[in-house]
């Protein structure tokens, strides 16, 4: 009965789309094995193929026709053994991989294709054919590049997080959403209003900065004023993350999407590395921002004031620093940098409402590895994390690539509990 059903449905399909099936015979008529033999694109005529059952009972022997195809119909579904007679092949050709036996399965009412890939026989001692495979070092180079690429995006996120953590002591679990928000705002201008991505990104960064400013002015600042503890604030930030993430989903949707510009750029080869031009631009911009902000924190008056606020807000106020203003500047720049991170992430990957959440752990790892609260630490830590994730796939399965990076985090902290660039406090 089942067979009838299959036949019928196939027949329906066949009826409607009679013309759509150019290459193969009507599948309903086919129950067996078939294949096409080609050598360097040319069909191979007259190759001998014998089909036996799994148990070795001969079924049929065929020869490939002028198109190189052969076809064996069988009565019962099941496993079969297909043997190609190498002596029937053109001289100087052989089956790739060596074996000339295949053991395909035939399913009820279907034909299975059997492939014998043919190649010219290599002259003994000649160099093996170039299969386009890359060496270990080529892979390592590519992966290191990808690591830098990813690491710098993480570093941008980490810098923003670290700035806010540094000045307010807030472990902001909503930072991932600030990243997503930046990316999505740029999307709105890029896709929604049809602006080119670069101006859209600039607007998004400015808008995000303003939102960050507002966020502190209207929310976090008020909480600080009420003397809310940092732990309570941390939990509140989890609430904020949930709120923002779902609002973004509400407006943006749950699908993956991308910007209209620079989408799916073809890579260019630079030595062993293939990179899309946008990656190179992104790396340049990211490095520039990271270094400028890092130096600004070390050298400018506002930067020093930010570190002073981080250390001791009451004393900072006593020194004449407008603590709230500094914190707002930090929130604004932290959010703006987060937005940049989001845009870069969206550019190199895609946009999704969970993009920030998905990268947040790596950001935390980067910040921690570098040493909490130091700008250059965030850079170094994030690079280490990024590179480790990518390069570790040389040895570990890619599904576990984050494991390698996180394990490194733990191991490094074992030996340097204060992070790579962090400093130990004195006791007593």
């Amino acid at each position: 009965m089942r067979r009838a059903v299959i036949a019928f449905t196939a027949f329906l399909g066949g009826l409607i789309f009679l013309l759509a099936v150019p290459a193969h015979a009507d599948p309903a008529d086919c129950q067996g094995l078939r294949g096409t033999l080609k050598l360097q694109g040319q069909p191979v005529n007259g190759a001998k193929i014998s089909v036996t059952t799994e148990g070795g009972q001969p079924v049929q022997e065929v020869t490939s026709n002028a198109q190189g195809t052969w076809d064996v119909q069988v009565k019962d579904p099941g496993k079969y053994k297909v043997t190609l007679d190498p002596s029937s092949l053109p001289a100087n050709s052989e089956v790739r991989g060596g074996s000339n036996v295949r053991t395909p399965t035939v399913y009820e009412g279907n034909c299975s294709t059997v492939l014998f890939a043919l190649q010219p026989k290599a002259a003994p001692g000649a160099a093996p054919e170039d299969t386009g495979q890359s060496t270990f070092w080529e892979q390592a180079a590519q992966l290191t590049f990808e690591g830098v690429n990813l690491g710098l995006i993480i570093a941008l996120g980490a810098l923003g997080l670290s700035l806010i953590y540094g000045t307010t002591g807030l472990t902001n679990f909503a930072h991932g959403e600030l990243i997503t928000l930046g990316a999505v705002i740029a999307y709105a201008f890029n896709v929604g209003f049809g602006l080119q991505l670069i101006p859209a990104a600039i607007i998004a960064i400015i808008v995000s900065g303003a939102l960050g400013y507002g966020q502190d002015r209207l929310f976090w600042g008020q909480l600080r004023k009420r003397g809310t503890g940092t732990i309570a604030m941390m939990i509140i930030s989890i609430g904020v993350a949930i709120l923002l993430r779902n609002l973004i989903q509400f407006f943006f949707g749950a699908q993956t999407d991308s910007y209209t510009d620079y989408n799916t750029q073809a890579g260019i080869e630079i030595g062993p590395i293939s990179a899309a031009p946008k990656n190179l631009w992104a790396i340049g911009i990211e490095l520039a921002v990271l270094i400028v902000v890092g130096i600004a924190l070390m050298k400018t008056r506002t930067g020093k004031a930010a570190r002073a606020v981080a250390d001791n807000p009451a004393l900072a106020a006593s020194s004449g620093i407008n603590v709230d203003r500094i914190i707002r500047i930090i929130w604004a720049s932290g959010s703006a940098i987060a937005a940049l991170a989001g845009i870069m992430l969206g550019l190199s990957q895609s946009l999704k409402f969970t993009m920030g959440q998905d990268i947040l752990l790596l950001i935390f790892a980067g910040v921690t590895l570098g040493g909490l609260g130091t700008a250059f630490g965030a850079l170094v830590g994030s690079l280490v994390v990024g590179i480790f994730i990518q390069v570790s796939t040389l040895w570990v399965p890619p599904e576990l690539k984050s494991v390698g990076a996180l394990a490194v985090l733990i191991i490094v902290l074992l030996f340097r509990p204060q992070g790579i660039l962090g400093r130990r406090e004195r006791i007593g």
């Binding site: 089942r2 059903v5 009820e108 009412g109 492939l115 991308s258 910007y259 073809a266 690539k401």
Partner: protein, 406 residues
């Protein structure tokens, strides 16, 4: 599920009845949906909800079930990182649902199947592909219309071999859908005489996929099979970037990522010639138009046919059983899905039923013939090809129908 005891309902109907909500068989068919509104599979929600909504619209327009309009409650299944599905099931059971359509994720379904079937309610997933459900203990109440991995994997694998790819790379999303399909493709491809030179199971939540693609690149396969959902767009970006574009390598996709919306922003021709397999015998076009009338914002249509068929089948089974109790529906589901006069819409089918005929519902997602385990036994897989506009032609290259079990 339920092994072989689906047919003998007497033993089951006694056990769950004691603990099930009292209101079984209250005369109104109540459907609950347990589909993703949030979480990582949230993008699958809208088409699935739309499928159910469309079916319900048609059912109620045709006079409802047992003379009454069908009621429906929508709930969120979330994803596996939250416990929301369990909450939702509680709510649906409290609202006396007779059948629950969901969840999208096999893992989520697994976490609530005991609760649902324990209450004597039909658990009907439009999207579960894990083979676990074939053998799971479900009191005969679990069903699914979802694309059968096995057949699709076979068809896809055969396609890859038939196209002459002797070296194949597989990138599969690391979950039961992705790895299940990938296993099947890998087996078929290997049996067919090609070599799977690299198989990458990637974490769909990873921040980026460059390393995963770099692994493929290292082996430079002729054919590349991409198994996943919409995150495939990111993989495609990486493939192009790392020099494995579709015009140099043959790409293959599956129902989860063969999409007409996901890649349209990419430069013209990026996906030209890429082939994808989608279960279902009908052209998606007509049906998609109908779906858009239910939800005009729909961008993706994954699992909408399966959801639509699920709702129709439940309604027909209830009509056939003359009862809206979960166990009664379950008892009739196999019957209405096969063996009898063929019909393709609720209205047509219900008319036949009323005329006292045995029916065989033929769905949008395929012929939908349930086997003893509540799985579809037969399916049709369409093979589609992308044009240079990065959309696939709505006309399939070919349809293949086969037994799922093989």
């Amino acid at each position: 599920g339920g092994g072989g005891d689906t047919a003998t309902q007497t033993s089951q109907s006694a056990a769950p009845a004691s603990s099930a909500p009292a209101a079984q068989g209250d005369g109104t068919l109540t459907l609950g949906t347990l589909l993703p509104q949030t979480g990582s599979l949230a993008f699958l929600g809208p088409p699935e909800f739309a499928g159910v909504d469309l079916a319900l619209k048609e059912i109620n327009e045709a006079g409802g079930v047992l003379g009454k309009p069908v009621t429906k409650y929508d709930t969120d299944s979330g994803d596996t990182t939250t416990n929301i599905a369990s909450q939702s099931v509680d709510k649906l059971l409290a609202q006396k649902a007779d059948a629950i359509i969901g969840a999208a994720s096999s893992s989520v379904s697994e976490s609530v199947i005991d609760k649902i079937t324990g209450a004597g309610v039909v658990h009907f997933s439009p999207a579960n592909t894990s083979d676990k459900f074939t053998t799971i203990s479900d009191k005969g109440l679990y069903f699914r219309t979802s694309p059968p991995d096995k057949l699709q994997g076979r068809v896809l694998g055969d396609l890859v071999v038939a196209d002459g790819n002797d070296t194949v790379g597989i990138m599969a999303m690391q979950d039961s859908y992705g790895t299940g399909l990938a296993d099947q493709v890998q087996k078929t491809v290997t049996d067919g005489g090609a070599e799977v030179v690299e198989r990458v199971d990637y974490d769909p939540k990873a921040a980026d996929f460059s390393a995963d693609v770099a692994k493929l690149k290292a082996k430079n396969p002729k054919g590349i099979v991409l198994i996943g959902f919409e995150e495939t767009a990111k993989v495609v970006q990486e493939l192009v970037k790392q020099g494995l574009p579709a015009d140099k390598h043959k790409w293959y996709m599956v129902d989860g990522n063969t999409s007409n919306t996901n890649y349209i922003k990419m430069p013209k021709g990026t996906l030209e010639g890429v082939k994808g397999t989608i279960p279902g015998a009908a052209a998606p076009e007509e049906f998609q138009k109908k779906l858009l009338s239910v939800n005009k914002d729909l961008e993706d249509f994954s699992y909408a046919p399966e959801s639509y068929d699920a709702a129709n089948l439940i309604a027909l089974a209830a009509e056939a059983a003359k009862s809206d109790a979960g166990v009664d529906i379950a008892a009739k589901l196999m019957e209405v899905s096969k063996g009898g006069e063929k019909c393709t819409s609720f209205k047509a089918c219900v008319d036949l039923l009323k005329a006292g005929k045995d029916i065989d519902y033929e769905g949008v997602s395929g012929p939908v013939e349930f086997n003893e385990a509540g799985d579809p036994a037969v399916a049709t897989i369409g093979i589609y090809q992308y044009g240079d506009d990065n959309k696939y032609a709505t006309k399939a290259l070919e349809y293949r129908t086969g037994n799922i079990a093989g």
